[in-house]
């Protein structure tokens, strides 16, 4: 894989002194789907806006396809399509006109066949002559995606694409994203819906207070940071755990019947055998047993809050 976007020590300080980006380094590989995860106000949109040319960085540099985004802005911006977070559209234009407009703006000659294909892919074809003001919120979101794809970009930025979007559109959108990825389009999406990132992304970057705190393959991230939980259903309720069991860190639920034990999935000594032995020697029998892996959400909350404690 080759690096398509290279963000180097990127900084953005607003006039009021607020530092939205603090020396951000990020390499994005060609053809991958990377999710930028972070709480509101973490700097996700600022990072995207800086790469796309909407925000002037105050330090550092970005290259896209090997070209500098400032000196070679024509080359870099042609490669990029951007779907903004806000539903900003020209209310009085038709769907067809607004999508064609974007294609022209990005320096390409008219191509009705391409625009038709995009509109059909996004189920917008029967709305092509409607004015945007007549469309529902979900339809407007589709229009924004169509605009971003109108100039056949190699990179697609999706800024909170599913905020306030119904299930059907969400499905449609992920289908489009998958198809684009099959065509080799690199996709960068921001979200605070973690399950989305978990479902679709190859890599996850977690951004917090203007800093990237983790960039990792999704699977690796889940493996290295993931905790597993062992849950035991006890045959008979007990009032309290004997010291021999609670010393492992196992916890008893209020009903006195469910015992949970969290352990590091990658540790050499996970402590399961010792826990079970301790239970047996105390005569505590269990009727069922299950293990579960922590979700990306748990990982994310862990990361953001632990960094918060450090700061």
């Amino acid at each position: 894989m080759t690096t398509l976007i290279s963000v180097n020590k990127l900084e953005k300080e607003y006039d009021n002194g607020f530092k939205a980006l603090k020396s951000v380094d990020l390499q994005i590989e060609e053809g991958e789907i990377i999710a930028l995860l972070g709480p509101n106000g973490a700097g996700k949109t600022t990072l995207i806006s800086a790469i796309c040319g909407i925000v002037n960085p105050t330090g550092g540099s970005v290259t896209v396809g090997g070209f500098d985004i400032i000196n070679d802005f024509r080359k870099t911006r042609k490669l990029i399509g951007l779907v903004p977070q806000e539903l900003t559209t020209d209310a009085f234009e038709t769907v067809w006109a607004t999508v064609s407009f974007t294609r022209g703006l990005f320096g390409l000659p008219r191509n009705d066949a391409h625009v038709e294909k995009i509109l059909k892919d996004l189920s917008l074809w029967d709305k092509k002559d409607n004015k945007i003001i007549q469309l529902s919120g979900g339809m407007k979101r589709r229009v924004l995606i169509a605009k971003a794809l109108s100039h056949e970009p190699r990179i697609l930025f999706l800024d909170e694409p599913t905020a306030g979007v119904d299930v059907e559109l969400r499905k449609d959108m992920w289908n489009v994203v998958r198809r684009l990825r099959e065509d080799g389009v690199t996709i960068i999406l921001t979200t605070h819906y973690i399950e989305e990132a978990e479902e679709i992304a190859d890599r996850i970057a977690v951004i917090r207070a203007g800093e990237i705190i983790v960039v990792e393959e999704k699977n690796t991230l889940m493996k290295t940071l993931g905790k597993k939980t062992l849950t035991l259903e006890l045959a008979d309720p007990i009032k309290a755990l004997p010291d021999s069991v609670s010393s492992f860190g196992a916890e008893l639920a209020e009903d006195g019947q469910t015992l949970t034990y969290r352990y590091d999935a990658n540790a050499e000594r996970k402590g399961i055998t010792r826990l079970l032995t301790a239970l047996a020697s105390d005569g505590i029998r269990f009727s069922d047993l299950s293990t579960s892996q922590s979700s990306l959400e748990d990982i994310f909350v862990d990361l953001v809050s632990s960094q918060g404690d450090a700061a």
Binding site: G53, F73, L82, E86, T102, L108
Partner: protein
């Protein structure tokens, strides 16, 4: 150097389409108000007025009325054209497109100037219904027409960038341009004024435009046409410089 012609064309066409869509307010209303001026000032009051420099008052009015529409419409068209995407947020797209500042300006200002010129032509045609027109220097007439439309569209563009509300968008055309045009010799020769007010009027930039433009029709002018030409060129330079500065600093466009 590469130029994004398709991008310029996209903005230009977009803006022109906006005009056709709002043809009522873009064309009909200025033509109507100009016709009213002709009827009131030209026909009703004009019949009581003596000729000015050998030109009937009705004919004398025409260049001033064209300038009145040209200035106010150029400013408000261009201001609205750039303010609206700023207001709705759609400007993100233009900012993220492979199009340079100068190309954006050509698209927006070119369209606004075109609209004003179409309007100016319509008003001139309307005028022929009321008075007999003759144009002594067609080249200079077009020169003043095109340069004024372009420069005041640039000014409108600047106002559109500067404005943070619809009120501010209206305030400059209403409170600055209209009074300057009315007091800039559109409807009278400054010879008619007492000497003190003649000197005050010489501070009014619009005087030089109206005077030069009227000279191109009837070869009568309040100030030398050369001064008018120099003035309009100087004003163009000022506007171009401000626009260049806006994009260099990102003033109110980019953060």
């Amino acid at each position: 150097m590469t130029i994004n012609w398709y991008g310029i064309a996209a903005i230009y066409t977009f803006e022109m389409n906006r005009m056709w869509r709002t043809i009522g307010q873009s064309v009909v209303s200025p033509v109507l108000s100009t016709s009213l001026y002709f009827i009131v000032f030209g026909a009703a009051i004009g019949s009581q007025m003596q000729e000015i420099g050998g030109v009937s008052y009705g004919a004398f009015l025409v260049p001033g009325l064209v300038m009145l529409s040209l200035l106010t419409q150029s400013v408000s068209n261009a201001a609205f054209g750039i303010y609206f995407p700023k207001f709705t947020g759609t400007i993100y797209e233009t900012l993220s497109a492979p199009i340079s500042a100068i190309e954006i300006v050509i698209g927006y200002v070119g369209a606004a100037a075109t609209k004003s010129l179409i309007l100016g032509a319509i008003i001139l045609l309307t005028a022929t219904l009321f008075v007999e027109l003759r144009v002594a220097h067609p080249f200079w007439m077009l020169f003043f027409l095109i340069l004024t439309a372009t420069t005041f569209s640039l000014l409108g563009f600047i106002i559109g960038i500067w404005a943070e509300s619809f009120d501010q968008l209206q305030i400059v055309p209403l409170l600055v341009i209209t009074p300057l045009v009315f007091l800039g010799g559109s409807f009278y020769s400054i010879d008619m004024l007492p000497p003190f007010w003649q000197n005050v009027t010489l501070l009014n930039p619009v005087l030089y435009l109206v005077s030069g433009f009227r000279w191109s029709f009837y070869e009568i002018s309040d100030v030398s046409p050369l001064i008018s030409v120099a003035f309009i060129l100087a004003f163009t330079t000022v506007c171009v410089t401000i626009v260049w500065w806006i994009f260099k600093t990102g003033y109110k466009v980019k953060s």
